[in-house]
């Protein structure tokens, strides 16, 4: 592989979370009966006209700000002309020469490696409807509910060098669009879908001919498709066949990519500015207004977590993997106190993440609220309970056995024993009952000491402060 360099660029269609379509008042909710969300404009009756939904523009501005791009003060909607039954007007309204978002980029991380992926552009456009080939006895059904759904098409420079980088970029983008609230990220429903432009070359050579893998709707498929495609291209070139520019589809069943159409029968889309729409003008005041409503972005938040709470870059990245995760962490830290931030982070990334993962749940609907977790961490910090007992309390909270850590500790008598007198009494009893271990310890067997600690903890049902037990026991044994 090392004699080949892989070059990947991604084009992503993110469906924008607006209430209505980009050029009509129809709803964009998913899953309605076919064609009930298609009005006169969507089905392109004679005489109808598009009117731009400003909500979609706000989404584009948000995105542009989040990736450090420039927002075009004046961008133009163009018609992309082609015939297809699920394209009612015979053209798609998109942006061609002057897109609304220009430049910017996204930092990604593959293992310990950080990399910056540059964006070429992001533009607004409308989605097409759907052609339904099943259930119509050899004929095709058309559902125009999706026609006119607002999309932001986000295009990268060919900056990625492996399928792992492509997936890392796609994941970062997926998290970002959800973070800023412009896309629900639902890949099954097609809200977020990627096309990958893949080519290979020997290092130092000019870019190879690319083939575009269309409609990748899961990260796993993206990885598989790119890996297959790369290997296929290398084989072709190695065997002396030139790569021809083409659009290919990935078949998840076979794990292979297959050409749909080659460049020769590519469309001439005859782009030209849509005369039904005025140029989109975005003034500094509009940008400022959108900026004011933008949440703190993941990167800024990561830097803050590292500086304020002493978290590692890795931990900060995990805690900002999604808006829900970050919200959870921030809420918990607010309740537990900044001094406990590190402990809160550990509980979220450790116990909570494991449990959520096991139950295939998201932090957004965690059975243990951020406030509850904060209460738990506080009781560890003030020595009310030990770490071991805390796991029991966590379990009880998860199962809804109480409203708070305090309530559970109280009801189940889990408060840590810190009274030296009481602990000393228990130790005396343990020593008396375990003369054999005492003897072994004295004979130099350190392991025996641990056994005695264990006995003492067992005698208190784990509630004794482990440090105190340690100290007292060592004193008693004259260690």
């Amino acid at each position: 592989m090392s004699q080949w360099e892989v070059v990947i660029g991604l084009e992503t269609h993110a469906q924008l979370q607006t209430k209505s379509k980009i050029f009509s008042g129809s709803s964009i909710a998913f899953g309605a009966e076919p064609n009930v969300q298609a009005n006169a404009v969507d089905i392109a009756l004679p005489g109808v006209l598009p009117v731009l939904n400003r909500e979609a523009v706000v989404c584009a501005i948000k995105f542009g700000l989040a990736v450090g791009a420039s927002i075009a003060p004046r961008s133009v909607f163009a018609r992309k002309n082609y015939f297809y039954p699920d394209l009612p007007k015979g053209y798609q309204i998109s942006q061609f020469e002057i897109p609304v978002v220009q430049g910017g980029g996204l930092a990604i991380r593959v293992g310990e490696q950080e990399k910056f992926i540059r964006l070429t552009r992001a533009h607004l456009e409308e989605d097409a409807g759907k052609s339904l080939h099943e259930d119509f006895h050899g004929r095709t059904g058309i559902d125009l509910n999706r026609a006119g759904t607002p999309l932001l098409e986000i295009v990268t420079e060919p900056d990625m060098r492996s399928s792992a980088e492509a997936v890392a970029y796609a994941r970062a983008l997926h998290a970002l669009v959800q973070w800023i609230g412009i896309c629900d990220g639902n890949m099954q429903e097609g809200s977020f879908r990627c096309d990958a432009n893949v080519s290979v070359r020997r290092p130092g050579e000019p870019l190879g001919t690319r083939r575009e893998i269309k409609n990748l709707n899961s990260f796993r498929f993206m990885q598989q498709a790119i890996d297959f495609e790369v290997q296929w291209q290398i084989n072709e070139i190695s065997e002396g066949r030139a790569i021809r520019q083409a659009t290919v589809l990935f078949d998840p069943d076979s794990g292979e990519t297959r050409a749909m159409r080659s460049k020769e029968d590519a469309h001439d889309y005859r782009y030209f500015p849509d005369p039904d729409l005025l140029p989109l003008e975005i003034g500094a005041d509009w940008i400022a207004q959108v900026k004011a409503g933008l949440p703190e972005l993941p990167q800024a938040m990561q830097a803050r977590f590292q500086a304020d709470y002493g978290l590692s870059a890795y931990d900060a990245a995990i805690l900002t993997a999604s808006r829900a995760m970050a919200d959870y962490f921030v809420t918990a830290v607010a309740a537990a106190g900044a001094a406990n931030a590190k402990a809160v982070a550990n509980w979220i990334m450790g116990e909570l993440a494991a449990r959520l993962n096991k139950n295939d749940m998201d932090v957004a609907n965690s059975p243990i609220s951020a406030a509850q977790l904060a209460g738990l961490v506080q009781r560890i910090a003030d020595n009310t309970i030990s770490n071991n007992i805390a796991k029991k309390v966590f379990e009880a909270l998860w199962n809804g056995e109480g409203q708070s850590a305090d309530e559970i500790i109280d009801q189940q008598g889990l408060k840590q024993i810190t009274d030296s007198g009481a602990i000393e009494k228990i130790i005396d009893e343990v020593l008396a009952a375990n003369q054999k271990s005492v003897g072994e310890f004295r004979a130099g067997k350190d392991k025996a000491f641990n056994a005695l600690v264990g006995q003492a903890m067992k005698a208190t049902k784990g509630k004794a402060n482990p440090q105190q037990v340690n100290d007292l026991l060592r004193k008693k044994l004259g260690g």
């Binding site: 006169a40 089905i43 392109a44 009756l45 004679p46 005489g47 109808v48 006209l49 598009p50 009117v51 731009l52 018609r79 002309n81 015939f83 039954p85 009612p88 007007k89 015979g90 053209y91 058309i142 001439d268 005859r270 782009y271 030209f272 005369p275 039904d276 729409l277 005025l278």
Partner: protein
């Protein structure tokens, strides 16, 4: 009654001299009698018309009105719509086989507005297919005949509108103008027609030909009638992004003001070769009349106007080729009875559904937008368009309105130009530049030329200069009677 102005009809209705139903019936009966020879209407629906008239009765105000002309109630007055406007419950064909059986489920903004004013729809008017034509010979429903001479064309594309009013089958009509489609038929049929500033009237529900040029406007017997109709038609519409949001105005407000000191610009390029002598004579005579009315004439220049026809025949077909893509036989409209695969369905449906002129323009438009040609044609034409607009602004520095001929000739005979598209396209040579510049323009009758056919005088205003153009036209019409003449045999 058939020769009455809208104000007279309004007054007669208010005085209960006639009811809205009687008035509609009067015109419907005339349509029944005369339309077979003229072919001005594509669709007539007596039941719907009378139902509208009955509903309008209640809205006719009682007694005489003392308010200004601009407030003349239009309730109960009938008019007819060019078949390019979507009308709910009526067939809307756009003059094409493609929409031969299309019944619109919604009303165009213009139709809504006129209905809101209480006007009654007499029917849907014939037109060149998809408004592509200057003679009405491209209509799928057959050509409209000029009421002044049925061997001659009425002009186009709003030829049905023009013929219907000229024959007094309707007191007024809607039209649309992309390159002269209101003004040229108005001139050829001896009527008054106005194309407003681009954006004054909403395009919502008006079937698109060339979106950046299309504009709806009124056609009637007089400037005063046009002003009243424009008052009802104009207005911002949020469903049309190119509709202009500005305060409502009374287009009749200046009608009675004298023309003293009005500066009329005469573009050198409009008075050169290419204009027939009879047209020139009538236009010159009208200009003499204007000078008598206190106006002064100044020579101006529109140096790029010679480029307007070529620029137009790049831009308009480009937009049309895309606008007409929705007529694919998939969701509504004509679908070929037999076809193989999807592409075959598209090609057969469009090959059979569209007429020759429409197909010619789709091909031209597709060509000029194609990869490798776009810069040379489309972009170049857009640059010319800006130059033409700049020419007009320069001219308006030294004049208030521009005048000249509407059409280089009077109505020509059927078939005279239909074999040569370029000859046909040149009949819009004086009207096209206003569409390219987005300016308002109108045509009014200024005499008769060869074969006793009407000649039109064109007035071009600056942006939003409708009231001033209408004033200039009205003052002339007070001093002349060309606009009240009608073909002898149709009386």
């Amino acid at each position: 009654m058939i020769n009455s102005s809208l104000r007279e009809l309004s007054a007669a209705l208010a005085a209960r001299k006639i009811s809205a139903v009687e008035l509609a019936t009067l015109f419907l009966d005339r349509i029944d009698k005369l339309n077979p020879a003229l072919n001005a209407f594509i669709t007539i629906d007596r039941e719907q018309t009378l139902a509208q008239a009955r509903a309008a009765e209640a809205r006719v105000p009682k007694g005489t009105q003392s308010a200004g002309a601009g407030n003349t109630p239009l309730a109960g007055i009938p008019l007819a719509h060019k078949d390019i406007f979507c009308t709910r419950g009526w067939r809307t064909s756009c003059g094409s086989r493609m929409l031969e059986n299309f019944v619109s489920p919604y009303d165009a903004h213009v139709v809504e507005k006129l209905a809101a004013a209480g006007m009654v729809t007499l029917g849907k008017l014939n037109m060149d297919e998809f408004a592509m034509g200057s003679s009405n010979e491209t209509s799928f429903f057959g050509p409209v005949k000029n009421p002044w001479d049925t061997a001659r064309v009425p002009g186009g594309s709003s030829g049905g509108s023009a013929a219907a009013i000229a024959a007094r089958l309707a007191p007024a009509a809607t039209g649309t103008d992309t390159g002269g489609s209101i003004r040229q038929p108005a001139a050829l049929c001896g009527l008054t027609g106005l194309k407003p500033t681009y954006g004054v009237v909403s395009r919502y529900g008006m079937i698109a030909f060339a979106s950046s040029l299309d504009q709806a406007g009124p056609m009637a017997k007089s400037a005063e009638d046009c002003a009243l109709l424009l008052n009802a038609m104009a207005g911002f519409d949020s469903r049309d992004s190119t509709s202009i949001e500005r305060p409502a105005e009374d287009y009749a407000r200046d009608l009675e003001k004298p023309l003293t000191g009005l500066r009329i610009g005469l573009p050198r390029e409009f008075f050169g070769a290419g204009m027939d002598d009879d047209v020139r004579a009538a236009v010159e005579a009208a200009l003499a009349e204007y000078r008598k009315l206190g106006a002064i004439t100044v020579e101006v220049s529109l140096p790029n106007s010679g480029l307007s026809v070529p620029a137009y025949y790049v831009i308009a077909p480009a937009e049309a080729s895309s606008n007409l893509s929705r007529f694919d036989g998939v969701r509504y409209g004509y679908r070929a009875p037999e076809y193989g695969d999807l592409n075959d369905m598209y090609s057969k449906s469009r090959a059979l559904g569209f007429g020759a002129e429409v197909k010619r323009r789709i091909l031209i438009g597709t060509y000029v937008l194609s990869h490798g040609y776009y810069d040379a044609y489309y972009l170049k034409a857009q640059k010319i368009r800006r130059l033409i607009a700049a020419d007009f602004q320069k001219a308006f520095e030294s004049c208030d309105v521009i005048m000249g001929p509407t059409s280089p000739s009077v109505a020509f005979a059927f078939g005279a130009k239909s074999a040569d598209p370029v000859q046909m396209y040149l009949s819009d040579i004086y009207t096209i530049s206003t569409n390219l510049a987005g300016l308002p323009g109108m045509s009014l009758p200024c005499g008769f030329g060869a074969h006793g056919m009407p000649v039109g005088l064109q007035i071009i205003g600056n942006w939003f200069g409708e009231a001033r153009m209408l004033q200039a036209a009205h003052q002339y019409q007070k001093a002349s009677d060309w606009h009240v003449r009608m073909p002898e045999e149709l009386k």
